[in-house]
């Protein structure tokens, strides 16, 4: 029994009478004051909050609200409606597909004979594409360098790095002409982030014949590497960035804007940048790479035979050995 101790209890009313009096005042749901006070007391005894006196009004409110929810579970639930459920489900499915789950085959609708044949052929091609193995050494490797990056303070947590690795393999599958590639980094933008991979192609396209002066040919100089960008590593598509021109690099030095995260967006601000965010991104990548990529001394050397066409070729120094005393 929970005993109500009321200081102002008139001497002529006994406990039972008080209880029946309080039970009479009933609201629409059938809750009386007596049952409400009983519920509060039960909550205090069960949960034992530290400063129950302080929180008394809050507890009263919570008891009232919890009656509305009518759940008997102690575990709180998240309420989602059907549309949200669908969205979440499709998203999770696409993540699992990128991790290796075989996508569900859509049921065939009854169609004419010709169309059916065409459909079957398409399906077979898709299956073949799925099963074709790719050369994994061509893809950028993040898992290998994760420890090293973490020591430097750059943290890509394990789940993200696995999804990223899957995205890299999707890149190789999509662009077969990649020779080898490296994870260049990530640029944070307002609405979503850009993950960038730097790659060397096995074959470069021919330079356009009517190109303006000073623009470097694909595969040489500033355009030696080709960059690919993706905004959503869970289920996004890789986009190849075009080669950059010196004019774009020059202009990008004056641009002082945040990236929005949408590659097709126009670049606003004081300077008139006549290309889209894609070109700005490529120009910034070129500037960053040229200023910040380092290698230990003597790691590279000039090849023995000088190639007259391209005096900038360097190759790995096979006699490179890291300093034994740890100095750089």
């Amino acid at each position: 029994h929970i005993v109500l101790y009321n200081h102002r209890l008139p001497s002529n009313m006994e406990f039972e009478q008080a209880k029946s009096f309080l039970s009479q005042h009933v609201d629409d749901n059938g809750t009386s004051i007596y049952s409400h006070m009983a519920a509060i007391s039960r909550k205090i005894v069960e949960e034992k909050p530290e400063n129950a006196y302080e929180l008394f009004e809050n507890l009263s409110l919570q008891v009232k609200q919890s009656k509305l929810n009518m759940t008997n579970d102690d575990i709180p639930r998240i309420n989602i409606n059907e549309q949200e459920k669908q969205e979440i489900q499709t998203n999770m499915q696409s993540i699992l597909v990128s991790c290796g789950r075989k996508p569900e085959k859509k049921p065939k609708e009854p169609k004419g004979d010709d169309e059916e044949d065409a459909e079957q052929e398409e399906e077979e091609e898709e299956n073949e594409a799925e099963q074709e193995p790719i050369d994994v050494t061509k893809s950028a490797n993040i898992l290998e360098y994760q420890q090293l990056l973490q020591y430097a303070g750059i943290c890509i947590d394990y789940e993200e790095s696995y999804l990223l690795q899957n995205a890299f393999t999707r890149l190789i599958r999509k662009f077969g002409e990649i020779e080898n590639s490296r994870f260049w980094g990530k640029i944070q933008a307002i609405n979503n982030d850009y993950w960038i991979v730097e790659a060397k192609l096995s074959e470069y396209p021919e330079a356009a014949e009517d190109k303006p002066p000073k623009v470097e040919e694909p595969g040489k100089g500033i355009n030696e590497f080709v960059y690919f960008v993706i905004t959503n590593i869970e289920n996004g598509e890789w986009i190849k960035l075009n080669d950059v021109t010196p004019e774009q690099v020059k202009k990008s030095r004056q641009v002082y804007r945040l990236f929005t995260g949408d590659l097709t967006a126009k670049v606003g601000g004081q300077t008139h940048f006549e290309w889209t965010e894609t070109e700005l991104l490529r120009a910034q990548i070129a500037r960053i790479s040229s200023s910040t990529i380092l290698s230990p001394a003597d790691y590279y050397q000039k090849p023995e035979e000088e190639d007259e066409e391209n005096p900038f070729i360097i190759e790995l120094n096979e006699e490179f050995a890291p300093n034994e005393d740890g100095g750089i």
Binding site: E47, P49, N51, E54, L55, F56, E57, N58, S60, L61, Q62, P76, I78, N79, I80, E84, E87, I88, T90, N91, M92, Q150, Y151, A152, G153, I154, C155, I156, D157, K186, Q188, I190, N191, N192, E234, Y256, R257, L258, G269, Q270
Partner: protein, 298 residues
């Protein structure tokens, strides 16, 4: 005890994680604060600063900060922020050097003293050229200068700048989900024990987040004063009215189930929250320089 040590893809390495975790426990033992957490890292040229924050909630929200420059091995308390630091620190946009005793020279004072020397020379030349009139004016000027009491010159050391930066970041960036704090009948702020988390819709809206600071907005202050158990959810300042408009951005992953909130004024700050959780984390990994030109950049 798990502590989150990575925000914005910057994080602590294994060594730092161990030392910070142990120092955090040490600080908890010595201080009587209800909650302590790893606040973040401020990059400097020679050294980086690791910061731990201790919070107490009462009628107001108060913080105490501890810093370390040796990778988390030793933490010391930061000085309290005083009003004179505001004016000085606002003008500085240089990287932190990492040396705690570094003094920031006041550029304006230097220029002023140079100009005064020049002025004195000019005055002498003019006197010689013009005769008596200039004399009287100069005398008046000098008299008025002598009437003012000498101004106290404060030297701004890096440690003070760090303290000011951290309290600015907390003031402008620290947020909590709606309903996660309650006000008791005696106006004490407390964590809401029955906070079951935001649902997916609310978590993806910026107006479900409130500033974690003693309320300043007139609307929330009035709610705070009139607080009873009924309207205790709106006594903190909302973030949607912050200027410049658009400085708060929300990103979501996993189809909206994981939410990141960032403030573009302080690049490096991140608030992470999962739908349905009652826990949230936030922290700062950056160079401690406010992005004052934001209006031109978005």
């Amino acid at each position: 005890m798990e502590i989150t040590t990575a925000f914005n893809n910057r994080g602590l390495n294994l060594q730092e994680q161990c030392t910070v975790k142990s120092s955090l426990i040490e600080i908890k033992l010595n201080e009587n604060f209800k909650s302590t957490r790893f606040w973040g890292k401020i990059f400097g040229i020679e050294n980086d600063y690791l910061i731990i924050e201790a919070t107490s909630m009462n009628h107001q929200i108060q913080h105490k900060y501890f810093f370390s420059i040796d990778g988390g091995l030793n933490f010391a308390q930061l000085p309290i922020v005083e009003p004179w630091m505001n004016a000085k620190c606002n003008k500085i946009a240089a990287m932190f050097t990492g040396i705690t005793s570094y003094v920031y020279e006041d550029e304006e004072l230097k220029d002023k003293s140079e100009n005064e020397d020049d002025e004195n020379e000019d005055d002498e030349n003019e006197e010689e050229a013009n005769g008596g009139n200039e004399d009287e004016q100069d005398q008046e000027k000098k008299d008025s200068e002598n009437d003012e009491p000498p101004k106290i010159e404060y030297k701004l050391r890096e440690l003070a700048r760090i303290a000011w930066t951290i309290s600015s970041i907390n003031d402008e960036c620290c947020i909590v989900p709606k309903d996660s704090l309650v006000l008791t009948s005696s106006k004490i702020m407390q964590k809401n024990r029955n906070f079951t988390g935001l649902n997916r819709n609310d978590a993806n809206k910026l107006d479900s987040y409130l500033h974690f600071r003693t309320p300043r907005d007139p609307y929330s202050v009035s709610k705070y004063r009139k607080a009873t158990a009924m309207n205790d959810t709106e006594f903190l300042d909302p973030i949607t009215n912050d200027l410049p408009k658009g400085c708060w951005r929300l990103q979501s992953k996993s189809a909206g189930l994981e939410v990141n909130v960032k403030n573009l004024l302080w690049p490096g700050f991140e608030f992470k929250y999962c739908v349905g959780d009652s826990q949230y984390v936030q922290g700062y990994f950056g160079n401690g320089i406010r992005q004052n030109d934001l209006v031109f950049m978005i």
